[in-house]
């Protein structure tokens, strides 16, 4: 289980490659399915062109919350491991905002637990997006 909140841009595919190397020390051949969700910064939201995005979070509570839902997922589904990486701070076009991955013996558990984690993150993890629009006006995304 890994939870990381980072202010640095990251490449989701390189993160997955590195993480699977560690995972395979213990679980090579054990998992047969992985489901991955990657959320990326779009250039539009609610009909407006977005220039850049700032992500605020509640340091401490965010990590605790994500660890809690990861543990719930590991209990509720037959999954082997979970990974969540989430950006904070200033984010630019096309950069990854969030990466979620789950590994399991069979595909149903991988799909369902990955979906569960992103839905819980979106509805309860204390992150807030502030958008800078094309005309340089700034707004908080409404929840």
């Amino acid at each position: 289980m890994k939870i990381e909140i980072t202010a640095n841009a990251f490449n989701p595919w390189q993160q997955l490659q590195s993480y699977e190397k560690i995972l395979n020390d213990k679980y090579a051949g054990v998992y047969g399915a992985a489901n991955i969700f990657v959320g990326t910064m779009r250039n539009y939201n609610e009909g407006d062109t977005v220039q850049s995005l700032f992500l605020e979070h509640y340091a401490g509570m965010t990590e605790n919350y994500l660890a809690k839902v990861s543990k719930i997922a590991l209990e509720r589904w037959e999954i082997i491991d979970t990974l969540i990486i989430h950006r904070v701070g200033e984010i630019h076009l096309g950069e990854t905002i969030v990466l979620i991955a789950t590994w399991s013996g069979h595909r149903q558990a991988a799909f369902e637990s990955c979906r569960f984690l992103i839905e819980e993150l979106k509805s309860h993890a204390p992150f807030w997006k502030r958008e800078t629009l094309q005309n340089n006006s700034v707004r908080w995304v409404k929840g």
Partner: protein
């Protein structure tokens, strides 16, 4: 007793504070703390509350050293 009160995102901007300490003698609910730091404004229904970094309700009672946070609906991911 001393507790720490935090505000996040748009609410932080509206209240004009990131963090404040308050002192009080009796046990207080989250709702009373909100009123104390906002000069008796009503705590809006959509505002979320955490005590010691766990979700809590407006009726949760806080104790010495607790950290209380108020924030708008979350929008990460």
């Amino acid at each position: 007793m001393t507790i720490t009160v935090k505000f996040f995102a748009s609410l932080r901007e509206q209240v004009g504070k990131t963090e404040t300490q308050i002192e009080f003698s009796d046990s207080l609910t989250v709702n009373k703390i909100w009123q104390q730091v906002t000069a008796n404004k009503v705590l809006p229904k959509h505002i979320l509350v955490a005590v010691n970094q766990e979700y809590a309700s407006q009726d949760t009672t806080v104790k010495e050293g607790d950290e209380v946070a108020f924030f708008p609906p979350v929008t990460g991911g």
